[in-house]
């Protein structure tokens, strides 16, 4: 099995790593870079807990061989806040109490960030459709949808 040296830009910082061909990006982030924001949920891209951004677009890191991510520019949940200042999406999730157990929250916040990158002025249907790849078994989604819609307003007001 081949070993590969890769460079990934993680939250703006280039990281050089040696990985085996069958190592997964999610595990490398969590176990080698100690970034445990992205979660292991289903492992087969159905639940969205492992969502990260690649060039601002959402992808599921549980299905990406780390070696295939060589040269990628990625954002993990840790990279959303600007120092101690939360992003509009993060703050809106708190303000709307769009969290219960919290396990889906990192993926949900990352996917919502991708959503607003793509469409800064979404309606409710758009948000519900977009987030259907991120499962939450606690909240019933209502607070999350209103958080994303509110985050869009806050971004516009800025």
């Amino acid at each position: 099995m081949s070993m590969h040296e890769i460079t990934i830009k993680v939250n703006g910082k280039p990281r050089r790593l040696a990985v085996k061909s069958n190592e997964l990006l999610l595990n490398v982030l969590r176990d080698k870079l100690f970034m445990t924001g992205a979660k292991y949920g289903c492992g087969i891209a159905e639940c969205g807990a492992c969502t990260i951004l690649k060039d601002g677009k959402s992808v599921m890191s549980c299905l990406v061989p780390a070696v295939a991510a060589d040269g990628w520019d990625i954002t993990t949940p840790e990279g959303l806040a600007d120092g101690g200042t939360l992003s509009h999406v993060q703050q809106a999730f708190i303000d709307h109490a769009a969290i219960q157990c919290g396990f889906c929250t990192p993926g949900m916040v990352v996917a919502s960030t991708a959503l607003l990158n793509e469409n800064p002025d979404p309606d409710e249907e758009y948000v519900r459709d977009y987030l259907r790849g991120n499962y939450c078994r606690c909240t019933g989604y209502v607070a999350m949808v209103s958080a994303v819609l509110d985050a869009a307003q806050r971004m516009k007001a800025e």
């Binding site: 061909s21 997964l24 969502t51 959402s58 070696v67 060589d70 959503l115 977009y130």
Partner: protein
């Protein structure tokens, strides 16, 4: 089943050129092409049999990600064009709306950001949503190898679940879609339990209208046989006919009687047979109206 790790061991190859990829396919045994990984990695993790000693990553080959205009108004979707790129492409939305609709009905945004159109074909699932529209729009698939190039009609590509005519040394290169004739209308309908589900059943109808009559009609269905199927004879039998509700009902009944679905974990053969008639009625009517026809 442990989906946390990829237990399978393999070597990883990432050629910079198309020719490099074809050489690897010609020379190495048990090569699997990695485009988006949304089928391949899932299969590896869930223990499906995957003969892979080499993973061939084609993501360094930019030309394979393109959507390009070809000769005679054709549109070429290269194998690693991402589903999310295709569903937003202006030319696809305008000329091949059933394809855009089928892709939007697939999986989640994140998966569509990763998944490739070629992968949806090469995985050769009887349920593959993007296949029906390509068949109905008369798409031709271009398969490349060091031995040369060949073209296969989309409806001739599939053999059995997971099995296609693609040879071990061949790369699924591109889908070539002809420019649609004037007065063409199309519709795609898929039934699942919730929106991002894999289909219980799907249907695509593309109708070319000649005044009050059908000039040409192509109907394709998913999840009703061991492979995605162009229901060619029933579609062709409509050519030259004036469209009435009676004709639509009769055709839908014929389709329902023709298909050979199975019971599986998504639904039953009985349900598929019953509901095939309903979605056929709706899809034929919608395609006819989209072509400018009146009912």
């Amino acid at each position: 089943m442990n989906t946390k790790f990829l237990e399978k061991e393999f070597d990883y190859l990432k050629p910079a050129t198309l020719n490099g990829a074809l050489e690897i396919l010609a020379e190495k045994p048990n090569v699997k092409v990695f485009a988006g990984g949304t089928d391949l990695i899932v299969k590896c993790k869930t223990g499906a049999p995957v003969d892979m000693d080499y993973m061939l990553d084609i993501n360094a080959i930019d030309e394979l990600k393109a959507i390009a205009s070809g000769d005679d108004g054709r549109l070429e979707l290269f194998t690693n064009a991402k589903l999310s790129t295709i569903e937003k492409d202006e030319r696809v939305i305008k000329d091949y709306p059933a394809l855009a609709a089928a892709i939007r009905a697939m999986a989640s945004v994140s998966v569509r950001n990763m998944a490739s159109i070629g992968g949806n074909f090469c995985n050769a699932s009887p349920v593959a949503d993007a296949v029906g529209p390509v068949m109905c729009y008369k798409g031709v698939l271009r398969l490349l190898s060091k031995r040369g190039e060949r073209e296969v009609a989309a409806e001739d590509f599939f053999l059995a679940p997971g099995v296609s005519v693609l040879e071990k040394d061949e790369l699924f290169h591109a889908i070539s879609l002809p420019a649609p004739a004037a007065n063409t209308g199309s519709a795609f309908i898929k039934l699942g339990r919730v929106k991002s589900d894999i289909a219980k059943i799907s249907i695509t109808v593309v109708i070319e209208r000649d005044d009050e009559r059908i000039a040409d009609c192509r109907i394709a269905m998913g999840s009703i046989a061991a492979k995605p199927l162009l229901v060619a004879d029933i579609g062709q039998s409509l050519a030259g006919k004036a469209v009435t509700q009676k004709l639509i009902d009769a055709t839908a009944s014929e389709i329902s009687a023709f298909i050979k679905p199975i019971d599986d974990n998504r639904t039953t053969a009985e349900y598929r047979t019953d509901v095939a008639k309903v979605i056929a009625q709706d899809a034929i009517a919608a395609a006819w109206k989209a072509s400018g026809g009146k009912l």
